[in-house]
């Protein structure tokens, strides 16, 4: 079976091409050892079965994020039969940079010149034949969104596998650099290395850490020679050797572009206006605020409708179930624990709230707006030791903390991933929103609920500020491409949404189901009563809440919105104002907001950050919530709320 990999910069249209190639025959696999998913799919072409892998966007083999690392690993070590390099025809110079790196490694490349429509709209004419001639590989012009060039791509790729491609040696660096690359290449030819010698020589001069390790293992002399040569280059140019090589590679790109692209200047009015507004120092923030407010309004309006519908459905299902199987301990445990509690509960949050939220978010992401939001939020994020990109997982957190933790992979360093994941678990997810609105919002007024959201933001920032001081190391800055604004593709939006919701279903669902059964079993056999009794001094004396709240908090570890459901059950009424004072409701809501990430989030934390950090974060949040609750209770008593 043939294996083709799609690779290229971010936002060039790889996903669109991948979807067009594989249709619905796709599956997501985990990259061993790393938590980045790879999409792969199968396709039949001229009686051949071909596996296609969609790799995360990459700008250079000198990677800058975990996702790029995966792509690099895949291309370098897994050696796909053909790399289908998708490039944005309207930004050819920058895109060719990676193409050249790729061609240093392998000649089995097909270049897809995608987004030809946009290039044309920008007044560019590209001489495809000449480009193919210069690069020495097939070049296929494409407009992926219209399906143009897809078949030709696969055809070209299959043809490449049939021929023995010759390594392309045309791209010469400047004389001083080229000479030293040759020297190192000659040296490397004496050893048996798993890569083309010239590729490895260049990588070594660019100070690629993995290649250095490999070289060291083979023979220390290689490393010494590489360092000497790199220093010579650095001295000639008064610049770091790796920067010199980048500059010279770009010189080649610019020369190629000069030879194949003809450009007229054209002005694009509409898009430019939106672009102008979207990052404007006043309108930009207004727009951002408006969009966020719009999303929340929409999600909670449609969400409550869907939630009510689902509740009715499960009630109907439940009555049917008990009528058929009768009431007994076992049927109760199966129903309450597994079906209604586990599946129903999990879906009850996902379908109404998380799903619509993520659809909207994916639309924003695909349109190129989220990158602009990250730009606007960067300086704020810097105050808490993060940078603009962290805004994305934090916003994801309002839907569900699980995909938010997973989304922290876009951060570049371990330190930032930890910090961003930690902070996103403090963000009130849709389950907590149910509590905030259902207790404080309904019985104390919407302004109290809004105040709690604001208070939550203050806490997130305060904690971020403190933790960023405590964590070793310093933050990095933002370096991010801002993609052009575009009309999103429905299929890609759905896929992106599915991808995130799937994080929830895969990580959260089994844990919620298992946990739900466990708690129902414990409850049925009366074990929970003891736990509740043990907790009661804390709940009653410290937080000033009724003892039954202990129960609800235990259930809440499964899913935060269960706290309200259980509270109503234990208090015997859903009219909380009749049994709880406003202060008690406030303390309850704050404690629920912070007291522990739910089991699913803990599982996500373990997966993303490891046991130690997950336990530390959980421990911190329990202590913090109890402390905060106690303080609010006491301050409230004095202030007479």
């Amino acid at each position: 079976m043939l294996r083709f990999a799609l690779a290229g910069n971010a936002n060039v249209g790889k996903s669109v091409i991948f979807n067009a190639l594989t249709g619905l025959d796709q599956h997501v696999g985990n990259w061993p050892g790393k938590t980045v998913e790879l999409f792969s799919g199968k396709l039949h072409f001229e009686n051949q079965e071909i596996e296609i892998v969609d790799l995360p966007g990459i700008y250079s083999f000198d990677t800058y994020s975990m996702e790029e690392e995966v792509t690099r690993e895949y291309i370098i070590s897994q050696k796909p039969d053909v790399v289908i390099n998708v490039v944005d025809a309207s930004a050819l110079e920058r895109n060719l940079y990676f193409t050249l790196q790729l061609l240093e490694l392998t000649p089995n490349v097909v270049l897809v010149l995608n987004q030809m429509d946009i290039a044309e709209r920008r007044g560019m004419q590209i001489d495809v034949r000449k480009l193919a001639e210069i690069l020495g590989v097939p070049v296929v012009p494409a407009v992926a969104v219209r399906g143009a060039g897809i078949v030709e791509t696969i055809k070209a790729a299959v043809e490449v596998t049939g021929k023995r491609q010759r390594m392309h040696g045309e791209f010469k660096f400047g004389h001083e650099v080229e000479k030293r690359i040759r020297k190192l290449t000659l040296l490397l030819q004496k050893y048996s290395i798993p890569y083309p010698p010239r590729f490895m020589a260049i990588r070594l001069l660019e100070k690629d850490l993995q290649m250095r390790k490999l070289a060291e293992k083979i023979d220390r002399n290689i490393l010494t020679a590489a360092d000497i040569l790199a220093n010579e280059i650095a001295e000639i140019h008064h610049e770091a050797c790796e920067a010199v090589i980048s500059a010279e590679r770009y010189a080649v790109c610019a020369e190629i572009v000069r030879r194949v692209v003809r450009k007229r200047t054209v002005r694009r009015k509409n898009i430019e206006f939106l672009d102008y507004i979207s990052t404007h120092r006043v309108y930009g923030y207004l727009l951002l605020g408006g969009i966020i407010a719009g999303i929340f309004t929409f999600v909670f309006y449609t969400g409550s409708l869907i939630a009510a519908g689902m509740e009715n459905f499960f009630e109907w299902l439940g009555s049917g179930y008990f009528a058929r199987f009768g009431e007994s301990r076992t049927t109760r445990i199966i129903w309450d624990g597994l079906v209604a509690g586990g599946i129903g509960g999990a879906l009850g949050v996902v379908l109404p709230f998380v799903l619509p939220f993520y659809v909207l978010l994916a639309i924003l992401e695909q349109s190129g707006y989220l990158a602009r939001a990250a730009f606007l939020m960067d300086s704020l994020m810097h105050r808490i030791g993060l940078h603009g990109k962290a805004f994305i997982p934090l916003v994801l957190g309002y839907g569900c903390n699980v995909p938010a933790c997973v989304g922290c992979r876009i951060m570049e360093t371990e330190r930032e991933r930890t910090l961003a994941a930690f902070l996103s678990t403090l963000v009130p997810c849709s389950a907590r929103t149910v509590v905030i609105l259902g207790v404080t919002g309904i019985f104390m007024g919407i302004h109290w609920a809004i105040a709690l959201y604001a208070f939550n933001l203050v806490v997130v920032f305060g904690v971020g500020k403190i933790i960023s001081r405590l964590l070793p190391g310093t933050g990095t800055g933002l370096i991010m491409e801002i993609p052009g604004l575009r009309v999103p593709q429905p299929l890609v939006v759905l896929k992106q949404t599915w991808f995130r919701v799937k994080e929830f279903l895969v990580i959260a669902m089994p844990i919620i189901m298992a946990g739900s059964i466990a708690i129902v079993v414990l409850d049925t056999y009366g074990v929970l009563g003891h736990v509740n009794a043990a907790l009661s001094p804390l709940i009653v004396s410290w937080l000033g809440l009724p003892a039954v709240v202990g129960f609800t908090l235990i259930f809440g570890v499964l899913r935060k919105e269960l706290t309200v459901v259980m509270l109503a059950v234990f208090l015997g009424t859903a009219n909380f104002a009749a049994v709880l004072s406003p202060l008690q409701m406030l303390v309850f809501t704050v404690v629920v907001m912070f007291y522990v990430p739910c089991v699913a989030t803990i599982a996500a934390l373990v997966r993303e950050l490891g046991w130690k950090k997950a336990i530390a974060i959980t421990g911190f949040e329990i202590g913090f919530a109890l402390l905060l609750g106690g303080i609010i209770f006491r301050v409230g008593l004095i202030a007479g709320v």
């Binding site: 800058y64 850490l209 980048s246 120092r281 300086s379 603009g388 052009g484």
Partner: protein, 215 residues
């Protein structure tokens, strides 16, 4: 025709007097150049035979067109050298002497490059200080500024390869950049580079040194 440093010195001084509208006599030159009037007379004779100047005994020294060109050029070199030394942080009192030595060593090519550089000098600034809509050409990347205070995660480069990432995205010397947007509160800078839009944090923008150009 070969001319010596001394000759250049004389022509420069005569030209300066001419510019200032002062009468240039043997005594005046002797005072300016701190040389005995006798040696001055001797040198003036030499300059006259070479066709640089015209003069009558006890009268004014006048430059020929040819002599004026030479004198003017030396004077320009002197001024450029002074300006450059001032920029390097030398004291006003010492720059004249130093410039007198440098002016003779400057070839026309170096002189042209240096005056060009000085002309553009006020246009050189970090990317972070350019205004929205301004265009510039990257002069160099200030590694120290980019790495300053930021984590040195990798053994090579700094800030987890931020430096390399910037050059991989095309921030290399001689590249044209257009500042599209600057976020408020020392936020990031959005720039157009090599047909793409990239935004980078303020701390990185500080290390990218550009020369402003028109349009």
């Amino acid at each position: 025709m070969e001319k010596t440093e001394r000759e250049e010195e004389y022509l420069e001084e005569i030209r300066r007097a001419e510019e200032d509208g002062k009468k240039c006599t043997t005594t005046f030159l002797a005072k300016k150049l701190k040389i005995s009037p006798a040696s001055v007379s001797e040198m003036l004779k030499k300059l006259k035979t070479k066709g640089y100047i015209e003069y009558s005994p006890y009268g004014n020294v006048q430059l020929t067109d040819y002599g004026r060109d030479v004198g003017k050029q030396v004077l320009d070199k002197h001024r450029v050298a002074e300006e450059f030394l001032l920029m390097l942080g030398l004291d006003e009192t010492e720059i004249h002497e130093e410039a007198c030595r440098i002016e003779h060593a400057l070839s026309d090519r170096v002189f042209a490059a240096l005056s060009d550089f000085l002309k553009n000098c006020d246009k050189i600034s970090p990317l972070s200080e350019m205004g929205e809509g301004e265009t510039g050409v990257i002069v160099r990347i200030d590694t120290d500024a980019i790495c300053r205070g930021r984590g040195h995660g990798r053994g090579y480069g700094c800030a987890w390869g931020a430096l390399k990432r910037l050059s991989d995205l095309g921030f290399t010397p001689k590249t044209v950049v257009v500042v599209k947007r600057k976020a408020p509160l020392s936020g990031p800078v959005e720039v157009e580079i090599r047909g793409t839009t990239v935004c980078i944090s303020q701390n990185y923008a500080k290390g990218i040194i550009v020369r402003k150009t028109e349009g």
